[in-house]
Symmetry: C2
Subunit: 338 residues, 2 copies
């Protein structure tokens, strides 16, 4: 797919534009009746074991000895995103044409298929398999960070129609970008102004007040953040000050996998099985050191559709106080831990 990044001067941001194709109205998941085919398993799925030849060529996989790439026998499999606007080729080139500014889509966009089985969701996998998923993401993160043209790596997951998923089979995505996005600059700005890590300060404050604390494990704290953009938004923050997601160690990974499993189980039960996103915020790569970064994971249940005022102003409106959300989620987790 040919694509470019175009500068949005009104919003002071960038937009990724596919320049050579136009989805027909009926190609959009909203119009395709995605929900109605959900879980029937009647539709052909390229992510299922046995259908490897229908995807783009495998980048890497955790697979049984003596099995070949693009064949069955894998547990977690990474492939290029077929509809990607990004290519890790050449250099970043800014182009100007009158009032307009653009650049090439320098980067890489990969899909990590979390299980060979259709209809089994992330939280339904054994904790050991969840760990494998995050090990794979860590491995891909390290690989992509090794390319000096890459400046930021975004890991994310879309689950369900209202979270923007277009395929049901459980998967995550990893996107390597040639610049640091606007939304990732707050932690560094806070550090410059206050000389300390905002998230370390937050961990301490939330531990003391307990108002928005959902759960604490050996290595992680789960909170509903003070300024939650979304109802029941939850952050999983490593207690150790760690800048990059890839810095996580084996013991922390075990803990993280167990927490993800129990938290998503509890959250889906508490909120009536909503669509959700997971996003991992982490430090930029391949640029001068900037203090204050501390990686963390955001889990965003998608209960409300963003509306006009949010797109116009950038302000989010959240009808559920995080203090109330944290109490509900905490109680539900305790039920599951019994």
């Amino acid at each position: 797919m040919a694509a470019e990044l175009r500068r949005d001067l009104v919003r002071d941001n960038w937009v990724v534009i596919a320049t050579d194709r136009a989805l027909k109205p009926n190609d959009f998941p909203i119009n395709k009746g995605w929900e109605s085919t959900r879980k029937t398993g009647q539709n052909f799925c390229p992510f299922c074991e046995g259908n490897e030849s229908y995807t783009t060529d495998e980048i890497t996989a955790f697979r049984d000895n003596n099995t070949l790439p693009n064949t069955p026998g894998w547990s977690v499999r990474t492939i290029p995103n077929k509809f990607s606007a990004f290519k890790l080729e050449g250099e970043l080139e800014l182009k100007y044409s009158g009032v307009y500014e653009s650049c090439n889509g320098l980067g890489q966009h990969e899909v990590v298929v979390e299980t060979p089985q259709h209809g089994v969701e992330l939280h339904q996998l054994p904790a050991e398999q969840i760990k494998q998923v995050y090990l794979m993401l860590q491995q891909r993160y390290r690989y992509l960070a090794g390319d000096p043209r890459v400046k930021y790596i975004q890991i994310y997951k879309n689950r369900g129609l209202f979270a923007g998923a277009s395929l049901e089979h459980s998967h995550s995505q990893i996107l390597a970008l040639p610049s640091v996005p606007r939304e990732n600059k707050g932690l560094s700005k806070y550090y410059q102004q206050h000389g300390k890590c905002l998230l370390c300060t937050t961990l301490e404050a939330e531990r003391e007040s307990r108002q928005r604390l959902i759960y604490e494990s050996k290595h992680f704290q789960l909170i509903c953040p003070y300024a939650s953009r979304f109802s029941y938004e939850t952050w999983i923050i490593p207690r150790r000050h760690t800048e990059h997601f890839a810095d996580i160690n084996d013991e922390e990974l075990n803990d993280l996998a167990a927490i993800i499993k129990i938290f998503i189980l509890a959250m889906l039960d508490c909120l009536n099985d909503p669509s959700y996103n997971i996003v991992i915020n982490t430090a930029p790569v391949n640029q001068g050191f900037a203090g204050g970064y501390h990686w963390y994971m955001e889990i965003i249940p998608r209960l409300i559709v963003a509306n006009g005022v949010e797109f116009a102003t950038g302000f989010y409106m959240n009808p559920v106080a995080p203090e109330i959300a944290a109490t509900m989620l905490r109680e539900k987790i305790l039920e599951y831990l019994k």
Copy 2:
């Protein structure tokens, strides 16, 4: 509803939080099965003529002589948003508590009911009635701009579940805010850097290239913007450099009403009746003059659900080139104009 604005230090933004209530999972429109009740008209609607006593007290209405507020006999009716987080009382007060920062919801949030009839949508109204809707919005804009505590006024409309609407009866909203949102600062920044209006420059460039031009009327130009955040996003830009939406004159209002009617008709037909938002971007009020503002209207068909990467990075991914979108919309409008 008790509410406050909380500073989101990570995203460098503000979030509006309801502090005293928590929507239950089944209270969210997504879970209420809004689509299934759509257009059956079987549900009770507080915006319908005859049900005036079920809404908050009328602020103003265009109504027949000799009819009383909060009774039938109106054509366009303005009421406070019942679930508003904003109150135009007192002064803006910033509060600090450790790492956290908040302020009161100083402002006003109103709903403009566009027609007494249920099931008749904006584009189905006669152009004269559409004009009345925008006259009402202009009148409310002027009134709210008269309060020196108000710094920005956001007019918007949500139509359909995927646009974040919670009620089906056709309505717009107007929100007076105590500060200028982040997303509104690009035009002014451009002016400071280049000494000219970005939108006037854009009008000229698009008129010349015609690549993204959908339609031109006497007073307005319709384009798909170069860096469209959304597929088929359309801007209606006044050709006269006008900073505030309220500066529009009577002749321009007539033209605008006719254009809105024909454009929405064509767009809904072209794209399979999608949900959509309308937002009006305009200059801040009650603060020192800043050059470069030029009001315009954005119409956003909601064909794609924003996903994790968009919330995490702030980058939008648009799979339809605006050049292709403009061609499709232009052809459809020409059909309707035949």
